[in-house]
Amino acid sequence: MSMRKPFAALALVLAFGAAPAFAQNAGLGKPISEADIKQWDIAILPDGTGLPPGSGTPAQGAQIYAQKCVACHAEGGKGGGAPGAGPLVGGAPLTNGIETQKTIANYYAYATTIFDYIRRGMPYTMPRSLKDDEVYALTAYILSLNKLIGENDAMDAKTLPQVKMPNRDNFIMPYPDRI
């Protein structure tokens, strides 16, 4: 860990002497409770930390997909319905070359990434309009299309992080010392 310099704290101690309220830091940040951050706190970690309550099945996801996703991602997740909306299924082996299209099945290391990205940004024109149950269902549907889970497997905070993604152990870090 690098040195952590209490620069602001030092400057203020010098300026205000022993004023205890300023002894630790500049005091310009306004304290806020985690409860008040809840609406914003949508970060999810690959071990499942942060996943919300709720669940959904591939069948439920298929219905939502038909209403809200198919226009861009096309039938069965094949992609090509809208510019930039890549396929959600398939994927050639990465040994096919450096420009192989990266897909959920051939590339993603964690299934939590799918939930996180759908909840953050999908549908593209109506971000964060989906309920958590719907996000779970869509995630389940996409995983099922890719045969990464069974067609009746429900996804929730417990099952989603356990989905084994095929490419998980294929990553290497070029600069491990920078982490």
Binding site: F7, A43, L45, T95, I98, E99, T125, M173, P174, R178
Partner: protein, 438 residues
């Protein structure tokens, strides 16, 4: 005696490498130090005509505007767009390096990539929250951030996909803007992220920060806490003025030398955590497939690189004679220490002059005097940084990182990322310039 040394010993236009490269010391003082019999004024021999006053000198000009914009004669100097029809998808704008000079990218021409449009943020309402593994979660407004001791520094920001057309197995005939336009360099001013993390009291067990923007996708990336304490800023000014909307207004993360996408724009939240979040962008776009099928993750560093901006594709050399080869060099690992230039496709190299001061993780402009004899030449630059990293030669780079099987025809696609090898400009005997691999 010593103070006149430079002037008295001004070197002649001595050759330092093949095909007309001249010792960079010829640039000492003002312009070329012309000496010896080689220098001839007015190489084309056309006699000058008697001077006359032009119309603009004979009438009252326009009054001074509040915000000035470039001359109407510079209208071609613009960014190029990947999504000019405003379709519902990502949009890129590339910096016109072949039409600019110096090291600072004008704010209107800083590159910009937006995955879901540019949010229209009210700076009075925007908030930055720091929470997670901290003693006390905190909320900051732009006004509050402006009261901290602000740090100003130069830094390039480069998209990991910059120069991606050079993964094509055939050289694409496109400008330096189309190839390298997703890097720009600015003077950024902001608050050290470490100051804010200290104020919130970050837990020593927190190793990562999930940084999130206020755009429609709430783009987020995992940033090592280590980088935050090294040199990260929450930037609130760009070249002296508030950030441009496309560059993150009203505040963005600046992680100097790291992938552009990690410099999260419209920054609204930083959560301290104990593991990387494996977000969409670090999972998919900004990691790379290697030959053989292994993949790189957390390839944060933008490695040492340079490219010649003049002369380059789309320029035309009108006559043989003196030119100054010029370009930019930069490294995510520190300062540029050396740039070598070749005019014969890498057979011989001469050291370019660096226009200092050289800043870490920032553009350094290099210049190299060159006498073009009217014969074919291949111009290249190669940079080194202070950590000893050398810009790889293309053969070595392709061996390590691969190239496409078929020629790329669309310069807007990204066959792969983190290209930092050499760019070659081939000059033919008419002075036309092609992009070549050498």
């Amino acid at each position: 005696m010593g103070r006149f040394k430079g002037r008295r010993s001004a070197p002649s236009l001595e050759s330092v490498a093949g095909n007309g490269l001249i010792n960079r010391r010829a640039l000492l003082g003002q312009g070329f130090a012309i000496a010896g019999a080689g220098a001839v004024a007015g190489a084309t021999g056309a006699a000058a005509e008697p001077l006359q006053d032009y119309p603009w000198s004979l009438e009252f000009g326009q009054s001074t505007p509040a915000l000035q914009s470039p001359s109407k004669f510079e209208k071609q100097v613009t960014r190029t767009l990947s999504n000019p029809k405003d379709e519902l998808r990502n949009s890129h704008a590339r910096t016109p390096h072949h039409l600019l000079n110096g090291t600072v990218t004008p704010n209107s021409m800083h590159f910009s990539i937006n995955h879901c449009g540019i949010p229209d943020i009210d700076p009075q309402q925007h908030k930055l929250v720091i929470h997670g593994m901290v003693r006390q979660p905190l909320e900051f407004t732009l006004d509050k951030l402006s009261r901290y001791p602000l740090t100003t520094r130069m830094a390039f920001v480069e998209c990991a996909g910059n120069s991606a057309p050079m993964f094509s197995n055939e050289p694409m005939q496109i400008t330096a803007q189309a190839i390298h336009g997703l890097v720009s360099n600015s003077e950024w001013t902001g608050v050290r992220l470490s100051t804010l993390l200290d104020e919130a009291g970050i837990d020593p067990k927190a190793k990562w920060l999930v940084a999130e923007g206020a755009d429609a996708q709430m783009l987020d990336r995992s940033i090592p806490v280590k980088k935050a304490y090294d040199d990260a800023l929450v930037a609130i000014y760009q070249n002296g003025e508030r950030l441009m909307p496309g560059n993150g207004y009203p505040m963005r993360l600046l992680v100097p030398g790291y992938q552009g996408n990690m410099n999260v724009k419209f920054l609204r939240r930083i959560k301290a955590v104990d593991q990387p979040a494996m977000t969409f962008f670090e999972t998919k776009n900004y990691s790379q497939i290697l030959p053989g099928g292994k993949t790189w993750r957390f390839h944060f560093l933008m490695e040492v690189k340079s490219f010649i901006t003049y002369p380059s594709f789309s320029h035309q050399l009108k006559e043989p004679g003196m030119y100054t080869i010029s370009g930019v060099a930069y490294s995510g690992a520190g300062r540029i220490s050396r740039v070598m230039v070749s005019a014969d496709g890498g057979k011989s190299w001469g050291e370019a002059a660096l226009q200092g001061p050289t800043h870490p993780q920032a553009f350094t402009r290099f210049v190299m005097p060159w006498r073009w004899d009217g014969q074919p030449a291949v111009l290249q630059s190669r940079a080194w940084d202070e950590s000893g990293n050398a810009q790889p030669l293309r053969a070595d780079f392709v061996a390590a990182r691969g190239q496409t099987k078929q020629p790329v025809t669309n310069p807007l696609i990204f066959p792969n990322q983190h290209y930092n090898s050499i760019t070659s400009w081939g000059v033919d005997n008419k002075g036309e310039i092609k992009h070549v691999y050498a």
